[in-house]
């Protein structure tokens, strides 16, 4: 199996992976005054904006959470933080080979490491953000500690799902620079097509309503959106305080496996000519 060789290549270079992750982390906020605080300020600012627009002005009703908790910012953050992470993995990952062209043309190491390092360094930020979120939940009197193991599993699944997509996009982007623009557009659509700023229950209420979209099988379409199977369980656990639905867990694992396999396949096919195409 070629994949075994590919995995062992990466494992053999784990120290380099560690150094590449450190490089990303150290250089990310170099030269800024606030430094690491930026990784907290950004999501908080987005939360504030979305809360004002969607909760205060447009009156989106969040679902009722554990112990009768109703808080739009908390409801939002449960899906917004994973989305931000996923979006960073995909959008940053697709240009990672172009940004490191010189490294690829002049040195040899398993090229996958560049993507893994990108995912790894973004994951560190994601971990910090989620930890802060758990602290905020604690302030609201919600004990999320029992969910931490399963939460970590889902966070890793999101990371691997994003990695698969980024693997494919990064090599395609070397051959077709249009990919970056398509992806930027597509990610915007995907953001609104995923129940992040609104509860999924709003979608099923459209189905029974009288708008032009009511004839569409919206709920089914939603369940085909793989991101739902990652974000809904996270929100169920933290905000709702309930165990995620089993079929969601199954879908998440399936989506991750498919994404990784296809992404790796695309990468494997185009990797050998990278040094000359860049």
């Amino acid at each position: 199996m070629r994949i075994a060789g590919e995995v062992s290549d990466v494992v053999a270079s784990r120290e380099l992976l560690g150094n590449l992750v450190q490089r990303d982390l150290r250089s990310r906020y170099r030269g800024t005054v606030l430094g690491w605080l930026w990784s907290l300020i950004n999501p908080l600012a987005t939360t504030l904006i979305f809360t004002v627009v969607f909760s205060v002005i447009m009156k989106v009703q969040p679902t009722t959470g554990a112990d009768g908790l109703v808080s739009y910012p908390l409801f939002l953050l449960c899906a917004l933080l994973p989305w931000n992470f996923f979006s960073t993995v995909v959008q940053g990952g697709q240009s990672i080979l172009l940004n490191n062209a010189n490294l690829i043309k002049k040195t040899y190491f398993p090229r996958r490491l560049l993507l893994l390092a990108h995912v790894g360094s973004s994951f560190v930020t994601f971990l910090i953000e989620m930890a802060v979120l758990l602290v905020i939940f604690a302030f609201f009197g919600v004990n999320t500690l029992p969910w931490i193991p399963l939460l970590l599993v889902f966070m890793v699944l999101v990371a691997l799902f994003g990695l698969g997509i980024a693997l494919a996009l990064s090599v395609w982007n070397v051959y077709f620079r249009d990919v970056a623009h398509f992806v930027a557009l597509f990610m915007q659509i995907w953001f609104y097509a995923t129940p992040i700023i609104y509860p999924i229950t709003l979608v099923s209420s459209v189905e029974g309503g009288s708008s032009w979209a009511s004839g569409l099988p919206l709920t089914t379409l939603y369940e085909l959106n793989p991101l739902v199977s990652f974000f809904e369980p996270i929100r169920d656990m933290l905000y709702g305080g309930t165990f995620p639905e089993w079929h969601m867990i199954g879908l998440a694992v399936l989506a991750t496996a498919v994404s990784l396999l296809l992404g790796n396949l695309a990468f494997r096919r185009l990797e050998p000519r990278l040094a000359e195409e860049l």
Partner: protein
């Protein structure tokens, strides 16, 4: 297997795009097919690079030698054939490739070291050596973006050379830094060879290649033309360059031409012995009478360093009569050390600087070491004697 690297039947094809399909519009317009031509950068290359030897690759630009080196480094993947190697490979293709400008020299040493395959513990052990070799003790904690370009490549070189790989691949990066640094670099290479490590080097500096390498392969248009003794191969390569591909076309108004330059020592043509009498016979041919011209001979090394320029001007410019003729430059004791040298000849009018004919690389000659050679190296044989003068 006593070969450090074995190249079997390797071919590599490159695409030259006329217009890249990097935007969707152009892809659709051409129905997805990018217009490109393919050419073979390497064709059926077989090569065995022995353990513990310094192996050189020579060839003109575009001959495929750098492509071969990149294939050996696994940066490029051959389209067919197989490359097997034993031991850790480190490639010096561009010094400081992979340095991150925002990070400190220290962080970059660790990053670069791990790209070259060292573990953190290995780097810890070598860190002081690396920094002191580069001479950057004071600056190691400042970001490399504040380094001068010299400091940058010195650090890059120092990391790569201290990796102590089993096989080192080098591409034209030996001439780095000031003289002091170059001297230490060459010492390090020497130590490398003494340790029994394998070096594969690509360079245009033929003189250096001749002294450094144990074995040389000559590539031309992606094929191997010869492998073997450096003196033999480099001599043949330099000869081929001189005859079939002059570095610069002959110039001048050409009413008279230098047809050949024959170098002869006391024992025959085209060779001479260091410190012995040597004659340079310049044969010319004129279509008409050409007045007030002087002959100039330039002697240089294979890598183009000018050693001597001898003009007949000092003895008065003279007129060339229509027809053929010859002049001779007689050197009583040739002050060159053993090696291969190149002659350029010029016919020009000193009064207004007009060039009648310039023939670059018109001849080549080999200087053999003198029988009583004191083993002088360098370029010039001083021919002196050592005398004890007491205290």
């Amino acid at each position: 297997m006593d070969d450090a690297m074995l190249v079997e039947d390797v071919s590599k094809r490159f695409r030259i795009y006329h217009e890249r399909n990097q935007s969707l519009k152009s892809a659709v317009m051409r129905r997805g097919r990018a217009q490109f031509e393919e050419f073979w950068a390497l064709r059926d290359v077989d090569l065995a690079i022995p353990h513990g030897k310094t192996f050189g690759l020579v060839g003109h630009n575009g001959s495929g030698k750098s492509t071969l080196l990149k294939c050996l480094a696994r940066i490029l993947v051959p389209d067919s054939g197989r490359i097997t190697s034993q031991g850790r490979i480190s490639a010096l293709l561009e010094l400081g490739a992979g340095f991150h400008a925002e990070l400190s020299g220290r962080d970059n040493v660790y990053l670069n070291g791990s790209i070259l395959g060292l573990s953190r513990r290995d780097i810890d052990a070598r860190f002081d050596d690396i920094v002191s070799f580069a001479g950057l003790e004071q600056f190691i904690d400042s970001p490399v973006k504040n380094y001068s370009s010299g400091m940058y490549v010195r650090l890059g070189f120092s990391v790569a050379i201290n990796v102590e790989p089993d096989i080192l691949l080098v591409d034209e990066v030996l001439a780095v830094g000031d003289e002091e640094f170059q001297r230490r670099s060459l010492e390090k290479f020497q130590q490398f060879r003494d340790d029994g490590r394998t070096v594969v080097v690509v360079s245009h500096a033929l003189g250096t290649m001749q002294t450094m390498c144990d074995e040389v392969a000559w590539l031309d248009h992606g094929r191997i033309l010869g492998v073997g003794d450096p003196e033999d191969i480099i001599g043949r390569y330099a000869g081929a360059v001189g005859t079939s591909e002059p570095e610069a076309p002959d110039g001048g108004s050409c009413e008279a031409r230098v047809t050949s330059v024959v170098v002869s020592g006391e024992h025959g043509a085209a060779t001479t012995v260091s410190g012995e009498a040597t004659r340079f016979r310049v044969e010319w041919s004129a279509d008409e009478d050409v007045r007030d011209v002087e002959h100039t001979l330039t002697i240089r090394t294979l890598d183009g360093v000018t050693l001597a320029v001898a003009s007949s001007g000092g003895t008065g410019a003279r007129t060339l009569k229509r027809g053929d003729g010859a002049v001779e430059l007689v050197v009583p004791r040739l002050p060159l050390v053993a090696g291969t040298y190149v002659v350029d000849a010029t016919l020009n009018r000193p009064a207004d600087g007009h060039v009648v004919h310039r023939a670059d690389h018109v001849a080549e000659f080999v200087v053999h070491p003198a029988a009583d050679s004191d083993g002088s190296v360098g370029l010039v044989a001083l021919g002196g004697t050592w005398v004890s003068t007491g205290r």
